[in-house]
């Protein structure tokens, strides 16, 4: 009879112990982490939002609006560049995401093109006789998307941090999307409201004479003016000068406060530059209405009583919650693009803990049932398979903690399923040993060759399942990803435990007891 390698046994033993050490923190987490001995690794399994409760939001930045805005800026840059170079032009406008204009005097086309390329060398410029078309190239657009997304993620993070939500995860997905995960947050209503505002704040002068009634009677906006709605009352209209006097970027701080009438309002402080500008405008326009415009709607348009410098108050028909939110979004800065919520999934803490407990019960019962069944069928060999199965669970928990993979409810089902399938490897091996034994081999040879022959089948069978799991992982939406991760890890750990650990247990047993009969 061959000798059992001591080194191999020691290595297996050590790996099992390491598995135990990494799995352990999951079972003593109730004692709080301060009580956990220092030598233990601190990582525990990361529960998915469906288990610990919380909200998942998928946001999309509306890039079309950003492109349109940037195109407006580009048009005014082109206008001033052409003027500066004394190039005559007319019909400068934007149509179908293209800027177009017609040259008037005999300027060389090359000259005009070089003026435009000086603004940005990546622009696409086409020309049809006298008419020029300018549009963003792919490179321009990619750059705009990149900087917009970086800024948007930053602003989203600031806004969520301000609400005091615990451990939010904010990450970019794909080109123009952001995933926000808010563990423990039951109702994401406030967050959604906060992210729903771009919070572009501007101060603009109102037209000195045209009022809401005049506009409704059919007043047309004079050049340089536009008609804006009131934030609360869509019937109230304002004729507002398009020129932005001071904008939200010049805000230094904003807090919720109360005005003289003790109704909620927002106090703001401007930066030094903003204060100077604000002072100049208010000084020159005493007696006129100064509109506070938020996201294209007029919050209020108070009459300027006196010159104001660096600090002021935004009053309107606000509730306290609204001023809190407004102050928060102003402090955190404007989002560079409007955010659209594409997907939302929220799980309350009640459902989460129910899922955990039913998951625990199901896995425990499942494992016990499978174990009993194995002992009934294979006797002491079944016990070895069960020890291997137990080690498998330990490894699975250890790896899930170590990799910080997310465990979801389908993930728990995945664990139970791998348990059912993990014993498959042992079933294959035991059935094969039995066959070999029946063919007249000695017990030890039958075990050796049974293992050897079963292993190639096990690897084939498990690899194909692994392919399905990988396809699932690449599909990758939330809970499904969690399921595929547990399935993949389960397949790998079960191959180790079911083949190697069981083999040595069986060999050891046969050697010790000097058994020459199995199963019958």
């Amino acid at each position: 009879m061959k000798k059992i390698s001591k080194i191999k046994i020691t290595l297996i033993f050590i790996s099992v112990i390491i598995g135990f050490i990494y799995a352990a923190p999951n079972f003593i987490s109730n004692l709080r982490h301060s009580n956990v001995p220092n030598f233990l690794p601190g990582k525990i399994i990361n529960l998915g939002l469906d288990l610990k409760g919380g909200s998942y939001l998928l946001l999309k930045a509306d890039m079309d609006i950003v492109f349109a805005e940037k195109l407006e800026f580009l048009m005014s840059d082109i206008r001033s560049s052409l003027r500066k170079a004394k190039v005559g032009y007319r019909k400068l406008n934007i149509k179908e995401q293209k800027i177009s204009f017609e040259k008037r005097n005999v300027n060389s086309n090359e000259n005009i093109k070089s003026i435009i390329f000086k603004l940005n060398k990546d622009l696409l410029v086409n020309q049809n006789e006298k008419i020029f078309f300018v549009e963003f190239s792919k490179i321009n657009k990619d750059k705009i998307i990149k900087s917009t997304m970086a800024q948007a993620i930053e602003i989203v993070r600031r806004r969520i941090d301000e609400t005091g939500t615990n451990e939010p995860t904010i990450q970019q997905q794909g080109i123009d999307r952001i995933i926000v995960q808010l563990p423990g947050l039951e109702d994401p209503g406030r967050i959604k409201r906060l992210l729903g505002k771009t919070a572009k704040l501007t101060f603009q002068l109102a037209h000195p004479t045209i009022n809401s009634e005049d506009i409704k009677k059919g007043g047309v906006a004079p050049p340089g003016f536009s008609i804006l709605e009131d934030d609360k009352d869509p019937n109230l209209l304002y004729m507002i000068n398009k020129r932005v006097m001071v904008s939200g970027e010049m805000l230094k701080d904003a807090t919720s406060s109360f005005d003289r009438n003790n109704s909620p309002s927002v106090s703001f402080k401007l930066s030094a530059l903003g204060g100077k500008k604000f002072g100049r405008v208010t000084g020159k326009n005493i007696g006129r209405d100064f509109a506070i415009v938020l996201d294209g709607k007029v919050v209020s348009a108070p009459t300027i009583q006196s010159q104001i410098f660096s600090s002021g108050q935004i009053t309107g028909n606000f509730s306290l919650q609204e001023t809190n939110d407004l102050a928060l979004v102003l402090r955190s800065g404007a989002l560079p693009a409007p955010m659209v919520i594409l997907e939302e999934r929220s799980v309350g803490p009640g459902l989460g803990s129910d899922s955990i407990s039913s998951g625990k019960i199901a896995s425990l019962l499942g494992i016990i049932a499978v174990m009993i069944f194995m002992i009934m069928t294979y006797g002491s060999f079944g016990v070895f398979a069960n020890i291997a199965l137990f080690c498998n669970i330990v490894f699975l928990i250890a790896l899930l903690s170590l990799l910080q993979a997310t465990l979801t409810l389908p993930g728990i089902a995945g664990i139970v399923l791998t348990m059912g399938m993990a014993v498959d490897a042992n079933v294959l091996i035991f059935e094969r040993i039995k066959e070999e034994y029946k063919m007249g081999r000695k017990i030890y040879d039958a075990i050796e060759s049974g293992f050897q022959k079963a292993v190639s089948t096990i690897i084939d069978a498990n690899l194909t399942t692994l392919f399905a799991a990988i396809a699932l992982f690449s599909y990758g939406s939330g809970p499904i990803k969690g399921f595929s991760v547990t399935l993949m890890i389960g397949i790998l750990t079960s191959m180790f435990t079911a083949i190697i650990i069981t083999k040595y247990l069986v060999l050891f047993y046969v050697k010790k007891k000097d058994i020459n009969k199995i199963f019958y």
């Binding site: 998928l58 209503g189 659209v340 919520i341 594409l342 997907e343 939302e344 999934r345 929220s346 009640g350 459902l351 039913s358 998951g359 019960i361 199901a362 499942g366 494992i367 049932a369 069944f373 069928t377 294979y378 006797g379 409810l409 389908p410 728990i412 089902a413 995945g414 139970v416 399923l417 348990m419 059912g420 399938m421 014993v423 498959d424 294959l428 059935e431 190639s456 089948t457 084939d460 069978a461 498990n462 690899l463 194909t464 399942t465 692994l466 392919f467 399905a468 799991a469 990988i470 396809a471 699932l472 690449s474 599909y475 939406s477 809970p479 499904i480 399921f483 595929s484 399935l487 199963f519």
Partner: protein
């Protein structure tokens, strides 16, 4: 000690004799699936269809009054709604169709329904999937299933002969398709978890098939003088006790998830229970039966005959 034997140790069933019945059975299942898909379609969940889903638990001692709830939510004029009991007596699931207009309208509806129900109900879960994401998830789901089938087919093609690969993939497609059929016939909600269940089923079924094919390959090399029919039957019989054992242990685990895993996992485990049953059936009766249509060359397989010990050769 007497051990439990599910299958007598030396079976010698003539499985292939039932080939015609098995094909007829499969044909019926597949036809049923096609008809059900044509007439019933699938009961898509909001994951694919877009829309709103709320899981509510009655706060009162009284059980939830579904009619009252329906009237209340209908009064918001949100289009088609469905309300059903879910798991416990106190729990209901509210589904609201995808709203007209952009995503903002959907979010508004969630908030309105929430504020309407928050007095009497605990909101255990709320989900909203926009139409864009729904379409993407549907596409990604189909892609994932196809990719899984393709990669499995290629692997088997490399490890075995191409005939095995074809037989396996037909058996596998049969399983996947009939699971979709089950969801259509029973009108169970077809969602992301269902795709997961289908892919896992595919993994299980192919596992089963590969084990039998492995034995077929081995026996083809070993019993060169015997005909294919004999070898296929023998291979199924030799692996039968393993096939049954594994199916039973996996089914035990799945049945326990079905009964104790909570309402969220119930449909998921049901799909897999069906998958294990049909997967086991198809490995034996579809995959191996299909091999009989090919004349698999035993000679070609012998290139590593040297690996087979002398006493094992026939």
């Amino acid at each position: 000690m007497k051990y439990l034997r599910l299958i007598p140790s030396d079976t010698n069933f003539n499985f292939l004799k039932f080939k015609k019945f098995a094909f007829l059975f499969s044909l019926l299942i597949l036809l049923g699936t096609v008809f059900s898909l044509l007439f019933n379609s699938l009961n898509y969940g909001i994951d694919f269809k877009g829309g709103i889903l709320l899981e509510l638990r009655s706060k009162n001692v009284n059980l939830p009054d579904i009619n009252d709830l329906r009237n209340k939510i209908s009064s918001l004029d949100v289009g088609e709604i469905s309300i059903q009991k879910f798991g416990k007596e106190t729990d209901v699931l509210v589904r609201i169709q995808k709203q007209e207009g952009d995503e903002k309208n959907q979010i508004k509806v969630i908030e309105r329904v929430k504020s309407l129900t928050i007095k009497d109900y605990e909101i255990r879960r709320s989900e909203f999937v926009g139409p864009v994401v729904g379409e993407e998830l549907k596409f990604a789901g189909i892609l994932a299933v196809c990719l899984a089938l393709l990669s499995i087919m290629i692997y088997i093609w490399f490890r075995f002969e191409w005939q095995f690969s074809i037989a396996a993939i037909i058996a596998l497609t049969h399983d996947v398709f009939s699971t979709v059929g089950l969801f259509s016939i029973l009108q169970l909600e077809f969602n992301l978890a269902t795709i997961a269940a289908i892919l896992t089923t595919a993994g299980y079924s192919i596992n089963d098939t590969v084990v039998i094919f492995d034995r077929v390959r081995e026996n083809l090399r070993r019993y060169k003088s015997k005909d294919h029919y004999y070898i296929y039957n023998k291979s199924i019989n030799e692996t039968l006790s393993r096939t049954v054992m594994t199916s039973v242990t996996t089914l035990i685990a799945l049945l326990i998830i079905f009964f104790f895993g909570g309402a969220v996992l119930a449909d998921f485990s049901l799909a897999m229970i069906w998958g294990v049953l049909i997967g086991t059936f198809s490995s034996i009766f579809v995959a191996v039966s299909l091999l009989t249509f090919f004349n698999i060359n035993k000679g070609e397989q012998v290139n590593n005959e040297a690996n087979i010990p002398e006493y094992e050769r026939d």
